[in-house]
């Protein structure tokens, strides 16, 4: 943590002192111009369009706290250099964005600048939203303004110096904000282009799935997999080993619209939130467009990619009700699994009561480090709004680090066919970031 921090400081210093001037000139030259217009009067159609786009842009993920008032902000983002809270984007005049003009709202999405002209932090994904059309941005605003106004006290960000210096973001923007509206790729058909718009400008998939560089900006390894809130956001390029190249179209579509794909498992953690708040609300044509676009992305391998192995014998020779003898059945991990897990997950990888409990073929159990696996055990999952039985309680409280490490390793061995490398220390560290 300290090292990241120091490197960031040095990096920002360098950007500020050296590269800024010339680069800035180039950026300005290539930026799309901002059009100014009078505020539009919202129509029901515009609001309805905005509702859909707001879902597609997954605004709720960051601006609605669990159980809180919609879009009233206050969601905490724990970054290596402090905590940022999302803002209230309801139309409340004093604590929300009620006084913002269309122009100001569009400028925020496109340039990351607030009404007061101060820079916003790129935890707000304006590097993606910059691709939105003005019409779409205005529709989103119209929808937000149609909702109840919520007055909530703003939470103070707790950023350490120099990250609390908002002006410094100007340099960051110069380096990393490519202010361009989305342009269709002539090499793709209109379906794939629609998917591209959904995946980038609206859905900002890359914000999680694309690895970040030292300055916390997205690197060029688009969609090659990254870490977010301690979870793996897996590789979603068409790479056959580490990405989703081996998934069928219908598996991808099903995953996006229901959070589950037969033979690939269920979404959990931040991706489950995306599904609940966003992708499950997309129309079938838009889901198909997303899938079509994802097929056109360049296959890449990322760092620490997870590869799903052949179905292991331990699992394929097990039945729904009993584990095939593997030598691990008397270990601590197996015992915990028998008691707390087997009722839903069973031993043959198919899951019980609900297909969402299937573990066969999932990347979570194929990762020897069990990153997402341990997080799921610590935090649970909740896709109930998609499927009533698709959720799991959190087991952090009553099980020790040693027990969770043991059961993770058992699961990785039994369902993933790999040797689990989870240690109690790792579980203990992940507890710290678990919700």
């Amino acid at each position: 943590m300290i090292r990241v921090y120091l490197k960031l400081v040095v990096f920002l210093g360098l950007v500020a002192l050296v590269g800024a001037a010339g680069f800035a000139g180039w950026r300005f030259a290539t930026s799309d111009a901002e059009v100014s217009a009078a505020d539009v009067t919202p129509t029901p159609e515009l609001i309805e369009k905005g509702r859909y786009l707001t879902a597609a842009a997954d605004c709720a993920a960051c601006h609605t706290t669990p159980g809180g008032k919609p879009f009233a902000g206050g969601v905490a983002f724990d970054l290596p250099f402090g905590t940022i809270y999302s803002t209230n984007i309801t139309a409340d005049d004093s604590t929300g964005i009620g006084l913002w003009s269309d122009d100001e709202f569009v400028r925020a999405l496109h340039k990351g600048v607030g009404k007061d002209g101060r820079n916003l932090y790129p935890a707000f994904p304006y590097t993606s939203y910059t691709g939105l059309t003005r019409d779409d941005a205005v529709a989103i605003k119209a929808y937000l303004f149609s909702l109840p106004k919520e007055r909530v006290a703003e939470k103070e960000n707790t950023l350490a110096f120099p990250f609390n210096q908002r002006w410094a973001m100007t340099f960051w923007n110069v380096a990393f904000l490519d202010q361009k509206r989305f342009r269709p790729d002539p090499g793709l058909d209109h379906v794939a282009n629609r998917g591209a718009y959904l995946a980038t400008a609206l859905g900002h998939c890359g914000e999680c799935h694309t690895p970040r560089n030292l300055a916390f900006a997205l690197s060029g390894k688009e969609f090659a997999g990254a870490e977010i809130r301690g979870w793996h956001a897996y590789n979603i390029t068409p790479d056959r080993d580490e990405g989703v190249g081996a998934w069928t179209d219908s598996q991808l579509a099903s995953y996006l619209s229901t959070g589950h794909a037969e033979g690939r498992g269920a979404a959990s953690g931040p991706m489950a939130e995306v599904i609940v708040n966003s992708t499950k609300l997309l129309t079938k044509p838009d889901i198909d467009a997303l899938v079509a676009y994802m097929r056109t992305v360049e296959p890449r391998k990322g760092d620490g990619g997870v590869r799903v192995a052949e179905s292991p014998k331990s699992m394929t020779t097990s039945t729904a009700w009993a584990a095939a003898p593997s030598g691990a059945e008397n270990g601590l991990g197996a015992k915990v699994f028998q008691g707390a897990c087997a009722s839903c997950h069973q031993w043959n990888g198919k899951g019980q009561q609900t297909p969402y409990a299937a573990l066969a073929g999932t990347r979570a159990v194929s990762d020897p480090e069990g990153v997402n696996l341990v997080h799921v055990m610590l935090e649970g999952t909740d896709l109930r709004s998609v499927h009533q039985a698709a959720w799991m309680p959190k087991f952090a409280e009553a099980y020790t680090d040693a027990e969770l490490a043991a059961v993770a390793n058992y699961v990785i061995g039994h369902f993933g066919g790999k040797e689990g490398k989870v240690t109690p220390e790792m579980v203990s560290e992940r507890r710290a970031t678990a919700k």
Binding site: K335, Q338, G339, A340, P393, K394, F395, E397, T400, A402
Partner: protein
């Protein structure tokens, strides 16, 4: 013998007869139209129209099985069969010839003398009714034999009763009890205190492993618990109570809930909201669609951390009431050993979630529920419904576990509050989450123990200062001493099995927030005090460098019954035999509920701190045994209950709200953690002791003493923090209780204090 039929005689008659009859009148007497004494009226009410009902417990008709009325309720302990067997033994009938009935809520007839109330709890049933129920059986038999003697014109002495018949061996004739019923009703009622009772050695039934009455119906789904009651026209509801103790509903939006298909009504009381509907699922979906804002109430700052801080404060400075004092502990000099023990609050988590089905009508309130306190249930229902007690009809059901939770009537009170707002019978079912978060928990304790050892290493003085809240102060103030002393808080510490010449045990009362009542929990005082006392005496043995069994035996020289169980259990666990690394044996002895008991446990602790119970033995002398099968079952189950507490049990609070909610965070021992448990029942002719809570009370110290033997880590705080048991080669870290607060969010201890007091050195 088959499962009870529901008996619900007219309460009206009962209450007209008035209450307050003394115990002396409770047994004997019979129904007679002429006899207008209050007692007779009560019994008439209880008896219904049986041909022969010589007392409140036995009903014999011309045809059909003999009916026995069981004063206690079943919550797993098998009391129906046990109490039926007491009567059947003297009545000379087989258990196959009887059916049993739940006693109706008529306190003067069916009260447990100890509590002067109709209550099942405290492992009192056998102790309370052992004599009386045999007497009523013998009295009825005497009358039946008398009737036959009169009919046949022979002396009663020439006849004998067996298998539900009176037999005249000389003339080779016999008559069934049914045939004699009407004539027997006219026989004089013998004086209960004068009827001859069998010697235990002549028992045919008691003492053998006989079958319970309810097993078959509990294996085929037929038996109805309260939660299974089905009432014509009923709606099912579930509820959300304010998560913060003492809080209430601030605002409520019901529109979305009303839209859920199957939802009937949204009903509100001050502390919560219920949704009723066609089935539980509709009610639950409706409840989830509600928008409820809570007013956190006055105790939002209550937390486990603040609670233990306050306990510690009281422990240091609070005025104490003396439980027992012998000799003079202040005059003794020698090696001083001190320790502080901390026990958490506990949830009951009976497997059947709280529930009650209630139908309030303008002139009556009918309740279907399983309760340990039927009379209290009737009283609270009458109060809430604004009716007279004789307008309340209670249908007693089997309990899906009690453990003390169903000694409380808060759930019945809540159910009546909701039900009186709707015209239909309302079945209110708590979710597991609501059940756990609105428990009436076992209180937390903080105990300071000290001892002074003589040159031989044996204690010359022992002191124990218990700090905690009194359950009895709210629940049964009558059992308090005049000065307010609650003997439950020091039970098994003030009256130890060991002999120490100078002892002083006292209790510093602690006041819980009023909105968070605390309750009885299986094993009550003994579960708390046997853990501290048996752990501490283990510490003393180690401080003296002596074997814990030898050490205890010496201290038990005046207590042969306890010593016998100790020797027996030690032998059976293989005490002293060689054992592998990170394995250890532990032992604990006590006499909870009048049963002398020793548990011995062998554990293995993994280098990562995980505990495996390898094997366990429990040796018990509980006096005359009613049903050895039940004794074994209660001990085995009780141990699992107690180990579960030791390993995982803690209900913690934050912002005035309980933090645990279901079995994923309030953990239960499971089968693959449970060793074989060998129960050894020592033969004894002494008066029977209780058994339902004995295993629970003795479980934890045997386990933690074994953990000490395996790891050198003394567990002074429950539940066991397994992080303390991680092997790391660092001796200081190994005994963290002496060094620092374990890293759990719950009880934060006072570091300086723990350092000063801790350690057996």
């Amino acid at each position: 013998m088959s499962a009870p039929v529901l008996a619900s005689p007219s309460r009206r008659l009962v209450l007209q007869a008035g209450g307050g009859l003394s115990l002396a009148f409770l047994f004997g007497g019979r129904v007679s139209a002429q006899d207008a004494s209050p007692q007779a009226k009560l019994e008439a009410a209880a008896a219904g129209d049986a041909a022969f009902a010589p007392n409140a417990f036995i009903r014999i008709d011309k045809t059909g099985p003999i009916r026995l009325v069981i004063p206690n309720v079943d919550m797993g302990q098998g009391i129906y069969a046990t109490e039926a067997a007491m009567m059947a033994e003297e009545l000379e009938v087989g258990l196959g010839q009887v059916v049993v009935e739940h006693a109706p809520p008529i306190e003067p007839l069916y009260q447990t003398p100890l509590f002067k109330s109709q209550i099942t709890g405290g492992s009192t049933s056998v102790r309370a009714f052992y004599k009386g129920l045999r007497q009523v059986g013998a009295a009825a038999r005497t009358m039946l034999v008398g009737a036959a003697a009169e009919q046949w014109g022979v002396p009663a002495e020439s006849l004998k009763a067996e298998n539900g018949k009176v037999v005249d061996p000389a003339n080779n004739r016999s008559a069934t009890y049914g045939e004699l019923a009407e004539a027997a009703a006219k026989q004089p009622v013998p004086d209960l205190e004068k009827v001859a009772l069998k010697e235990p050695k002549d028992f045919k039934l008691l003492g053998t492993p006989f079958r319970r009455v309810d097993t078959a119906d509990k294996t085929n789904g037929k038996l109805e618990f309260g939660i299974d009651s089905k009432v014509e026209g009923m709606q099912v509801a579930t509820l959300a109570l304010c998560p913060h103790v003492g809080g209430k509903v601030k605002s409520l939006k019901i529109d979305e809930a009303k839209k859920v298909p199957g939802v009937r009504d949204v009903i509100q009381i001050e502390g919560g909201v219920a949704v009723s509907g066609k089935h539980f699922w509709a009610a639950k979906m409706g409840l989830e669609a509600l928008e409820i804002e809570w007013d956190e109430g006055p105790h939002a700052d209550f937390s486990t951390e603040s609670h233990f801080k306050a306990l510690d404060e009281t422990s240091r400075t609070g005025k104490a009431l003396v439980a027992a004092s012998e000799g003079d502990v202040t005059k003794v000099t020698g090696k001083k050993v001190e320790a502080i023990y901390r026990l958490p609050m506990l949830a009951h988590a009976a497997l059947e979630p709280l529930n009650a089905t209630v139908h309030v009508r303008p002139d009556a309130c009918e309740i279907w529920v399983g309760t340990q306190v039927p009379v209290r249930a009737v009283q609270i229902a009458a109060k809430v419904a604004g009716l007279r007690e004789d307008q309340v009809i209670l249908h007693q059901h089997y309990l899906g576990g009690g453990f003390g939770r169903r000694l409380e009537v808060d759930s019945i009170e809540t159910a009546v509050k909701f039900a009186k707002q709707v015209p239909y019978p309302l079945k209110l079912v708590w979710t597991r989450e609501e059940d756990m978060q609105h428990d009436v928990p076992r209180p937390a304790y903080l105990d300071r123990m000290s001892a002074t050892l003589g040159d031989d290493g044996f204690p010359l003085a022992f002191t124990d200062r218990v700090t905690g809240a009194s359950v009895a102060a709210r629940w049964a103030p009558v059992i308090l001493r005049k000065d307010g002393f609650d003997s439950d808080t020091t039970e098994c510490a003030a009256e130890m099995v060991y002999h120490v010449p100078n002892t002083h045990v006292e209790w510093a009362p602690f006041q819980m927030p009023e909105a968070l009542p605390i309750g009885w929990w299986r094993g009550v005082g003994p579960t708390h005090n046997l853990f501290t006392v048996e752990s501490f005496f283990d510490e003393l043995a180690h401080a003296a460098g002596k074997d814990p069994v030898e050490y205890r035996l010496k201290l038990l020289s005046k207590n042969p019954r306890a010593a016998a169980t100790l020797k027996d259990a030690a032998g059976k666990i293989g005490w002293g035999e060689k054992i592998g690394p990170r394995r250890g044996r532990g032992i604990a002895t006590g006499a909870p509920f009048g049963a002398f008991t020793t548990a011995a446990v062998e554990v293995e602790v993994s280098p990562q701190g995980e505990i495996r119970i390898v094997k366990a033995v429990c040796s018990v002398d509980c006096g005359v045994v009613m049903n050895p099968n039940t004794v074994e079952a209660q001990i085995q189950g009780g141990l699992v209950f107690g180990w579960t507490m030791a390993l995982y049990g803690a209900l913690t609070y934050e912002n005035g709200a309980a933090q645990q909610s279901n079995f994923h965070d309030y953990r239960m021992m499971r089968m693959n953690e449970t060793p074989h448990i060998d129960v050894s029942i020592l033969k004894s002719g002494e008066a029977p002791g209780g058994i339902g809570e004995v295993g629970t009370a003795i479980a934890a110290p045997a386990l933690t003493n074994a953990i000490f033997a395996a790891t050198g880590v003394r567990i002074r705080e429950l539940p066991i923090d397994r992080k303390l048991l991680i092997e790391n080669g660092d001796a200081k870290k190994k005994n963290v209780t002496e060094r620092e607060a374990p890293d759990r969010k719950a009880p934060k201890r006072d570091l300086a204090e723990a350092t000063a007091a801790g350690g057996a050195s």
